[in-house]
């Protein structure tokens, strides 16, 4: 992974909305007095969620002032971690797991769908600017492979057609239903199987 570059288009201002302001103040209370700078990572994450999944420089400055630390301290943290996005990634940020179990179950077919529908390259905005995709390492949902994460939700047990519909929905700014696309609840066995007794090859 090469160094993360900040976006050239930067908004002038950033401010937490009321709800996030309350949340931020609550997070700061988790730390001893005088140590509120420890909240920097949580606050960056809140800012990222508020600002369509990416952190502008204005937000870093805002957080630095919020926590009484220097700009570079926030900048260091934001550039260090790969899950902070410093460029616009769209309102719907699609992360496709391509680690071994998902790869075996056809993760690269999902990648091809993204290339076809969203953008040719990773981390590039779709033509209507509300969506981008990236490959990521294991998201810990191997039992429901292949899968993708869109913003905070997991979309599991996907096949190509379902995934294409999901992508088409989000491009139209509609949020599809998260969870398993084969009707499973969490990671329960399929067809209501409780034991492996009747399965000969188990």
């Amino acid at each position: 992974m090469s160094i993360k570059k900040v976006s050239k288009d930067q908004p002038d201002k950033f401010k937490f909305n009321n709800q996030n302001l309350n949340l931020a103040n609550k997070i700061i209370l988790n730390y001893p007095s005088g140590k509120k700078k420890s909240a920097v990572m949580a606050l960056l994450y809140i800012a990222q969620k508020q600002n369509d999944n990416w952190i502008p420089l204005a937000a870093m400055k805002y957080i630095a002032k919020f926590l009484d630390i220097s700009y570079i301290n926030v900048y260091e943290v934001a550039t260090f971690y790969s899950m902070y996005n410093l460029k616009p990634v769209g309102k719907y940020y699609v992360q496709i797991c391509t680690t071994t179990p998902c790869m075996i179950r056809g993760a690269y077919k999902l990648v091809d769908i993204c290339k076809k529908n969203i953008s040719e390259k990773e981390n590039e905005l779709s033509s209507n600017k509300n969506c981008s995709w990236t490959e990521v390492e294991c998201l810990g949902a191997c039992i429901s492979a292949p899968m993708a994460q869109i913003n905070d939700d997991y979309y599991e047990d996907l096949n190509m057609k379902q995934f294409e519909n999901i992508i088409k929905d989000i491009l139209k700014d509609k949020k599809p239903k998260p969870g398993s696309y084969r009707g499973r609840l969490n990671s329960e066995p399929e067809k209501n199987r409780k034991t492996l007794l009747e399965n000969k090859n188990a």
Binding site: S2, I3, L57, K61, S70, Y71, I72, N73, Y75, E76
Partner: protein
């Protein structure tokens, strides 16, 4: 005390020391890049690996404390192999561009790779490239050379107190940079150049100027402020190429301010190299003989009481003493003045004008009160100590006014003399805090001493502190922070007009002949006076002069300076005066000959001896109480000093001009937030 063995030598060390320090006590040097005595421990370069008995792995000695009975080995093949491995990794991405690198010859990596480097590189892959970063007009970067020791990051956060450098990204892609590549806003920023163990951060004004082994190194004393930082002047022929800090734990530790370091190019420009005389408002070159002839006529025509003299801010004590002798013995005039303003100075006791708590004493102080001073600009090194004290003891710091960012937090009181009156009269919470503090400090700036009620404030606070036993054998809480390098020296030599009216009389155009010994900061409306300027630079003083006698700058003559704590220090001659210019004392000596008598001094030795005996015989220990209730309510607002332009050398320096324009531009656009 712990008993440890280093390479089979038994030593006893204090508890809490690191293995590296223990090895150093035993006399074994450990190679290191990231470790630095004055900074926090990072432990990320891994160059200081040593072997410890019963430990299978080599240990980073800078980050591990010694324990009882430890058997440390630093010269085994195991250690050498480990260090060679580390060096190979460090060199994997380091460009081998020593021939075009300014650090060459004084590079830690170069030196240590002579011991631990291997002759061939096994690294076949492409080397990492890192784009250059802009860090202001003083620091040139070549970040491909960086080995990520993070000394610069720790320095700006801990010592300079301006957290503007950081490491962005991670792993191999980590890069050292300032926030969005802005110039650093610190007066100590250039110290990172000395700290950088490789050529990643080098000096921009000195780029490709010289190699370290070509330079002549002379020990000297800085004259940019009254702190008297110890410096090393590096010269190539006549030219001063650079100025570096010299370690003095009691004064500047191992740092110097940017102005000290980079005003040296001001020694090249605007220099006076031949005598000039003003005729019809134009300066005309003349020979020394002609110049002295003109001066002789003028001196013979002028009544002694119509002669005055002003000494300058960069003048060394030998010149000060020579001019004092000239005035008292030859010219018979009493009007010789070293101050630029009529600031209150009580010469009856040396303790009345010194920084009595001493710079080292700041470290143990637990309360500091600033009255009419901005230490960040007036004495940068002293400010760094205050920050150190704040970090160490959480010192409470109060200032009468808002001074902007001082690199440490301080509480702002009201900026009137009434606030001081309340403290003196024991009516303020500060009075109680001072009484309860073990080592309180009150620091008077020249602004405070220039007020009408300065005598009331100074003597009143002195009385208050004495009464509460804060001025005793062990600790003296009252401190004066002068602005000029020559200030304490001239007070020691009593170059202060007894009647306190010389400056007034000059402004009222009372005198007919005025000597300016390197005085460039005093201006008045000139009428018919004949002004003689003796100094090094063509600046404000020379501009109004009728006769200009070219003198030497502080690097071009041996001289003594007494710093604000009262320490007498010697500055040695590193270069020689340009053209026909002469050392200042020689000029004064020759002026003394003009009146037909013998010269004042036979040689420089005689001058130094006379000066030393004057100082040692001049016992100043009058403790009389001068406190009087002559209070006037006034506003105290510290005069902002033009940091990068505070004296002739700095004003002539191109580097300082650049720094100044960047700083003012930053302020204008308000890009800071």
């Amino acid at each position: 005390m712990l008993k440890v063995k280093v390479n089979d030598i038994d030593i006893e060390v204090e508890e809490g020391l690191t293995i590296l320090q223990a090895c150093e006590i035993a006399g074994f040097e450990i190679p290191r890049f990231c470790y630095h005595e004055k900074l926090s421990i990072a432990g990320n370069c891994r160059m200081c690996l040593v072997e410890i008995e019963k430990s299978k792995k080599p240990v980073a000695s800078c980050a591990m404390q010694v324990t009882e009975g430890m058997n440390i080995k630093t010269n085994t093949s195991f250690v050498e192999k480990a260090r060679k491995g580390v060096m190979e990794f460090l060199l994997a991405n380091h460009p081998l561009d020593c021939p075009v690198c300014d650090q060459g010859g004084e590079c830690d990596l170069q030196d240590q790779s002579m011991f631990y480097g291997i002759d061939k590189s096994r690294y076949k892959e492409n080397k990492r490239f890192v784009p250059e970063k802009y860090m202001g007009p003083l620091i040139k970067t070549q970040m491909t050379r960086c080995i990520h020791c993070t000394r610069c990051v720790r320095f700006v956060r801990e010592v300079a107190g301006v957290p503007e450098i950081g490491a962005i990204g991670r792993g191999e892609d980590m890069q050292i940079t300032t926030y969005l590549e802005k110039a650093m806003e610190s007066e100590l920023s250039a110290n990172v150049i000395d700290l950088c163990p490789v050529g990643a951060l080098t000096s921009k004004p000195y780029v490709f100027e010289a190699r370290p082994w070509e330079l002549k190194k002379t020990e000297s004393i800085d004259v940019m402020d009254a702190v008297g930082s110890n410096i090393r002047v590096d010269t190539y022929g006549w030219e001063v190429k650079r100025i570096l800090p010299k370690i003095n734990e009691e004064i500047n530790e191992e740092w110097i301010s940017d102005k000290t370091r980079y005003s040296c190019d001001g020694l090249k420009y605007q220099r006076l190299d031949t005598p000039y005389v003003k005729k019809e408002n134009k300066f005309k070159k003349v020979s020394w003989l002609e110049a002295f002839e003109i001066l002789k006529n003028k001196m013979n025509l002028t009544n002694p009481e119509k002669i005055a003299g002003l000494t300058g801010d960069l003048t060394n004590m030998e010149t000060l003493f020579a001019s004092k002798e000239l005035f008292s013995k030859i010219l018979k005039s009493k009007d010789l003045e070293s101050r630029e303003k009529n600031i209150y100075i009580n010469l009856s006791n040396r303790k009345n004008y010194l920084f009595n708590s001493e710079i080292k004493g700041i470290e143990k102080s637990d309360l500091i009160l600033l009255i009419g001073t901005n230490p960040r600009h007036e004495a940068t090194m002293l400010n760094a100590r205050i920050r150190k004290s704040f970090l160490k003891n959480n010192t409470e710091i109060f200032s009468l006014e808002d001074l902007g960012d001082l690199t440490y937090p301080y509480k702002i009181l009201t900026n009137t003399t009434e606030e001081v009156k309340k403290i003196i009269e024991n009516n303020s919470e500060i009075s109680n805090k001072v009484k309860n503090a073990k080592y309180p400090m009150v620091i008077f700036g020249e602004t405070a001493l220039n007020l009408s009620s300065s005598k009331y404030m100074f003597e009143g606070l002195k009385k208050f502190l004495t009464k509460n036993n804060k001025i005793n054998e062990e600790w003296n809480a009252i401190n004066v922070l002068p602005l000029n390098a020559s200030a304490i020296g001239s007070y020691d030599l009593d170059i202060v007009c007894k009647t306190n009216d010389t400056l007034e009389k000059i402004k009222n155009n009372f005198f007919e002949l005025i000597f300016l010994f390197g005085q460039d900061n005093f201006s008045f409306n000139k009428k018919n006076e004949f002004i003689v300027y003796i100094g090094s630079h063509g600046d404000k003083g020379a501009e109004m002069a009728d006769l200009v006698l070219p003198g030497a700058a502080f690097t071009e003559q041996d001289g003594s300076f007494t710093n604000l704590e009262g320490k007498l220090q010697r500055a040695f001659k590193a270069s020689y005066p340009p053209g026909e210019a002469k050392e200042d004392w020689v000029i004064i000596n020759e002026i003394s000959k003009l009146t037909g008598k013998e010269s004042l001094f036979k040689d420089k030795n005689e001058l130094s001896n006379a000066m030393n005996s004057y100082i040692s015989s001049n016992k100043k220990n009058d403790n009389s109480n001068l406190f009087k209730e002559d209070f006037i309510k006034e506003k105290i607002s510290t005069l902002p000093i033009d940091y990068y332009h505070s004296n002739v050398i700095a004003r002539s320096s191109k580097t300082m001009n650049e720094c100044r324009s960047i700083r003012t531009r930053l302020k204008k656009t308000g890009t800071e937030g």
